[in-house]
């Protein structure tokens, strides 16, 4: 099994893998930032009191959460060209990741905002703060602490989800493994290396998430 594990070939393909790692990294960072923006907007719409803003936001979030990401990716990949929109696969992929993660992030932020005791908002009202001030001075500072650990969890999910982009031939880490498998037919070497790189990213993000969680508990002690 592992006795005939060919390390030489891994070193030969290392530049390809590092390129794939870099690409996975870039895709994840860009989609995470875009997803954060989408999530904040979707959440703001979701908690809005105006029905014509609120219901589209609910529909968006629920549709994204109840259909598989792979179907969403294929929907955009095969669907956008029929609308006459031709963009490179990588942008289609980032768009899909952004829309998918955005819905989850909207729910995470909403849970954070809901975790603030309504009594504090009432206290804010009676102190004469307006809506924006209440949000900015009372809700958001507290909600941020509750939101950060699950957001990092979502970042982990996003990195793993980006592997699905290999199926629409975006040249990222998993795709590198597939390339090496088809060129040399050495699936063990290829996919264990790919798994190893994903584990590296996972452990870094996990450590960050655990650390932020600890900080959060410390703050709750007040």
């Amino acid at each position: 099994m592992l006795a005939d594990f060919n390390f030489r070939i891994i070193f030969e393909y290392l530049p390809l893998f590092l390129q794939g790692l870099q690409s996975t990294f870039l895709i994840s960072i860009v989609s995470l930032i875009l997803a954060l923006a989408t999530g904040i907007i979707a959440c703001a719409c979701r908690i809005s009191l105006l029905n014509f803003i609120k219901y589209p936001a609910i529909a968006y979030i629920e549709i994204m959460r109840s259909t598989p990401l792979l179907v969403q990716i294929y929907f955009l990949y095969f669907g956008l060209p029929t609308l006459g929109i031709r963009i490179p696969e990588i942008q289609t992929g980032i768009l899909a990741l952004m829309l998918n993660s955005g819905a989850y992030i909207a729910e995470i932020i909403r849970a954070g905002i809901n975790s603030v005791d309504p009594g504090q908002l009432e206290a804010g009202v009676s102190s004469g703060l307006n809506y924006i001030q209440r949000m900015r001075l009372i809700v958001l500072p507290q909600a941020l602490g509750v939101t950060v650990p699950p957001l990092l969890g979502q970042a982990i999910v996003l990195v793993k989800d980006s592997a699905l982009l290999s199926l629409i031939s975006v040249m990222e880490l998993t795709r590198c493994g597939q390339t090496m498998t088809s060129e040399r037919f050495m699936p063990s070497e290829a996919f264990f290396t790919v798994a190893f790189f994903y584990m590296c990213i996972y452990f870094c993000l996990k450590a960050l998430a655990d650390w932020s969680q600890k900080k959060l508990i410390f703050r709750e002690a007040y």
């Binding site: 099994m1 629920e62 549709i63 959460r65 109840s66 259909t67 598989p68 990401l69 792979l70 179907v71 969403q72 294929y74 929907f75 990949y77 095969f78 669907g79 956008l80 060209p81 029929t82 609308l83 982990i156 793993k160 989800d161 980006s162 592997a163 699905l164 290999s166 199926l167 998993t174 493994g177 597939q178 498998t181 699936p187 063990s188 996919f191 264990f192 790919v194 798994a195 994903y198 584990m199 996972y202 452990f203 996990k206």
Partner: protein, 217 residues
């Protein structure tokens, strides 16, 4: 043209229902096996045996740290190297069971650890055996913590069955993928696939929300 493709799509709709049936089968079998395996592992993960705990910890870290596609590729392409030939369907079930049980294991372990030590001590001083302590005292309380995220995890697992299409299992996503080659209306074909997935997973999302409200202490 659109109308023409739509009528074609209606024609081959039974094909989609077949895919839906396959997805349901995979989802059902893997949910049952994930739950059983996940509870089994979770109980040991929260137990006293440090060695077992570490082993399960490594397993969970490996599964949670790598994408599901990569796991499927490892199972489907690498097991034959080691002399284990699996067809696509059993390979898909195996991959689902391995992936799902690791996530459920963490949920169960978290639930059991949320119960205070005093409950274990009280149960053991009442003369209950270890198994009885778990079954009669700990688990009924832990289930309140476990159930909402467990149902949420079920939704994620059902959605993850779409990924097994990569090794050629003829489930819903694969059916869509095959269809879109013949009916080049991506929006229409994958909307249909999406609606069918929505019909399975949305009721579970509602159930998960309901449980979360009901179980909140």
């Amino acid at each position: 043209m659109m109308a023409f493709y739509f009528s074609r799509l209606v024609e081959i709709f039974p094909f989609f229902l077949k895919g839906l049936w396959m997805t349901t089968q995979i989802a059902f079998i893997s949910l049952v096996s994930c739950t059983l395996l996940g509870f089994f592992l979770g109980i040991f993960r929260s137990g006293g045996n440090v060695f077992l705990k570490r082993i399960i910890g490594v397993y969970v870290a490996f599964v949670r740290g790598t994408p599901f596609v990569v796991q499927i590729f490892i199972i489907f392409f690498i097991l034959p190297d080691w002399g284990i030939q699996l067809k696509a369907f059993p390979a898909a079930l195996l991959a689902m069971a391995i992936m799902g049980s690791a996530f459920i294991c963490e949920i169960v372990a978290g639930g059991i650890e949320s119960i205070s030590r005093g409950q274990w001590e009280a149960a053991s001083s009442s003369g209950l055996t270890l198994f009885q302590q778990l079954r009669l005292v700990i688990m009924p309380q832990a289930m309140r913590v476990i159930l909402p995220p467990l149902v949420g995890q079920y939704v994620l697992l059902i959605k993850d069955t779409s990924v097994v299409s990569v090794i050629g299992v003829m489930e819903l996503t694969r059916v869509g993928w095959v269809t879109v080659v013949r009916i080049p209306e991506g929006l229409m074909v994958f909307s249909l696939v999406g609606i069918l997935y929505f019909m399975i997973s949305y009721p579970l999302i509602l159930l998960s929300n309901y449980l979360e409200r009901k179980m909140a202490l």
